[in-house]
């Protein structure tokens, strides 16, 4: 275990650790472009040069293994001059088109220019700059601007090493070098947006986020990706009630700082097709209603049916808190004994992150119910047969779509749907009650590995939507029952003891 000194502070690190990683452990940030903790070392940008005592030349700290007794200085005049020179070199042919660049505000070139350079370019002539391709579409989600690229090759290494699809390559030499897509290919693997994420500058940017919002207007809230049962840790970027993107949040034990493309785009679950007011009636007869009217109608519809013909649909899309509140409501207010589970349809899976179950909380639903819920197909069957007539359902998605499912659900005499957005379940419902999206209520998901992960609320519910526990407490009062909770906080206290303890090193944010 080598012990070294960085800027006068001693640290002991595992053999093989690089100096830049050791410095990071001490909280000393050495500027870098090409180094990334999850990728192999390329050492091509030379931004990370540091001074080592008894070594005549500056050394790239991203490539240099820590050695016993090494004395490192990261902030001497020589190092600062080297950084300034590197910045001038990197910006030599840069188009400085920050006004039209989406990376502006989170760009390493901007940050390091402010910190280490602050000199006017000595090549201020547009004719003198090497011109390259601008706005080149690389794939369905990513666009490339060769003039902004600093050739750090992070994107190339990400594709080869993490996504295991070496679709990006370096072409040409010297001033003219740039990144290209391998001939005959597009950048279309399931992690293509992570290439834009690892790009330290504005060379690779997201086509989805393109020109939507300047990054400095966004607020970030830690969240759990609602895209699949892996439960990757993420940051939700939002502004004035609208979500713009998910970004990965580092969790070395789970997603190691990555998200899949579907995950990055899962913010759309918050924006699109939202239900914002209570509604009554199906299809043509649908009309907005007040909460009073809608709750009275829901209570009347469900109340008049015999207990044995009522059921509840839990949602693998929704948090433990929301599902537990529905379990308690259904059992106590409606005497329900049959519980089903709905959610989005299964999809592709892979070794890296993606799970076939595209719902974040199926394991949590099981824990909250204390038993295995029945599949939605069974509900459709029994509804068609007429043995189940009244249902209270959480969530918008129903994996079983198609005509059979739709007609089955339409046979129900009372379908009360609690949903954040439109979808097969609310469309078939007699009463639609708007509830918060994944970003609008705090909650807990239990991922496929059984790790419970809490997340806070990023913004208040849109429109007239009510948090599920509050909504159900109000509905129960219409059925002359007082539930043991009134808010998400009450429910969380009841849910906590039912969750497994988070595994060491991973889990909760």
């Amino acid at each position: 275990m080598p012990k070294l000194t960085i800027d006068g502070r001693e640290i002991e690190v595992a053999a093989g650790t690089t100096v830049i990683a050791a410095a990071r452990d001490l909280g000393i940030e050495i500027p870098h472009f090409c180094w990334h903790p999850e990728l192999s070392v390329a050492a091509n940008c030379r931004m990370c040069l540091v001074e080592i005592e008894k070594q005549p030349k500056l050394q790239p700290s991203c490539q240099l293994p820590a050695a016993d007794g090494m004395v490192v200085h990261t902030d001497t005049p020589r190092v600062r001059e080297a950084r300034r020179a590197m910045m001038e070199y990197l910006l030599l042919n840069h188009p400085v088109d920050c006004p039209i660049c989406d990376q502006a505000g989170e760009c390493k070139l901007q940050d390091y220019y402010q910190l280490y350079d602050l000199k006017a370019s000595r090549l201020w002539s547009e004719e003198g700059k090497v011109r390259k391709r601008k706005r080149t579409v690389f794939g369905p989600h990513v666009v490339y601007d060769a003039e902004r690229c600093v050739m750090c090759t992070r994107c190339v290494r990400f594709c080869a090493e993490i996504a295991k699809d070496p679709v990006l390559i370096e072409v040409h030499r010297g001033d003219h070098s740039e990144i290209a897509v391998a001939p005959g290919r597009t950048l279309d693997h399931a992690y293509s947006l992570m290439t834009a994420h690892v790009c330290p500058v504005g060379a690779l940017t997201s086509r989805d986020f393109r020109f939507q919002c300047r990054v400095w207007f966004l607020s970030s809230t830690p969240t759990i990706c609602p895209g699949c049962a892996t439960g990757c840790n993420a940051l939700l970027d939002h502004r004035r009630g609208e979500a713009f993107r998910l970004r990965p949040r580092d969790n070395p034990a789970l997603n190691r700082g990555w998200l899949c493309d579907d995950g990055v785009l899962a913010f759309r679950l918050h924006n699109d097709h939202r239900l914002t007011t209570p509604e009554l009636g199906r299809g043509e007869e649908a009309r907005p209603a007040s909460w009073d009217e809608a709750l009275a109608e829901a209570a009347a519809l469900l109340g008049k049916l015999p207990k044995a013909q009522r059921a509840a649909v839990l949602s693998a899309e929704h948090s433990c808190e929301e599902n537990w509140a529905l379990c308690v409501f259904a059992r106590e207010a409606l005497g329900v004994e049959r519980f089903f589970v709905a959610g989005r349809a299964a999809g592709e899976a892979d070794e890296l992150l993606r799970h076939a179950d595209k719902n974040p909380n199926r394991a949590g639903v099981r824990l909250m119910l204390g038993a295995e819920p029945e599949p939605l197909e069974k509900l459709v069957e029994e509804a068609t047969a007429g043995s189940l007539r009244g249902v209270v359902a959480l969530g918008a998605a129903a994996a079983t779509t198609g005509p059979a499912a739709a007609t089955g659900l339409l046979r129900l005499e009372a379908l009360v749907s609690l949903a954040p957005r439109r979808g097969p379940l609310p469309e078939a419902a007699h009463v639609r009650l708007p509830c918060p999206s994944f970003a609008e209520a705090a909650g807990t998901y239990v991922n496929a590995r059984g790790q419970p992960q809490e997340f806070p609320r990023a913004m208040p519910p849109r429109g007239e939507a009510l948090e599920v526990p509050e909504l159900l407490a109000r509905l129960a009062r219409r059925l002359d029952l007082t539930l043991p909770f009134r808010s998400t906080a009450d429910v969380r206290a009841a849910v906590m003891p039912r969750l497994p303890q988070p595994a060491a090193g991973g889990g909760a944010p």
Binding site: P99, I100, K134, R135, F211, Q212, R214, F217
Partner: protein, 176 residues
Amino acid sequence: MPYVVRRPDRNLWEQSYVPETVRGLAVTLRHFFRNVLGRRDTVTLLYPEQRRPYPPRFRGVHRLTQRDDGAPRCTACMCCQTACPAECIHIVAGEYPADHPLAHVEKYPAEFWIDELRCVSCGLCVEACPCDAIRMDTGLHPRPVEARPHLMYERNLLLSISDTAGSVFTANPRKK
């Protein structure tokens, strides 16, 4: 802490008010009759028939400058929106399609709104703009209107306003 309020130092003549009031009225009347009967040296103007020339740096309503081809110079970078302390600028960025003559510019303001009612005429937007696309050299006041929305100035209106010399272009063409 107690304060001692000193009584004003007035003699009986001043304290009785009436003579001093008459003296004040005399000054007013002197000016009145001098201006009505004799030479006029009033400082007020009959606005809007009479106007005083504004200083060249007067900050009037905004305008968006045009490129030589008539397209907006603005690239929808939102620097002005960021700088504006009154939060009265709202921009929606658009992207020129790949076959557009201005495809190399990539980004343009599909919508550009300035709420002239909220604007505090600080000029920070003009300072912030890296493209000299927004200027306040029009010499104009916002026109009186009957409803608040009429003072939401929209992109094409802003593009059509000219500076005091009648130009809709920038005063700082990019150095080549």
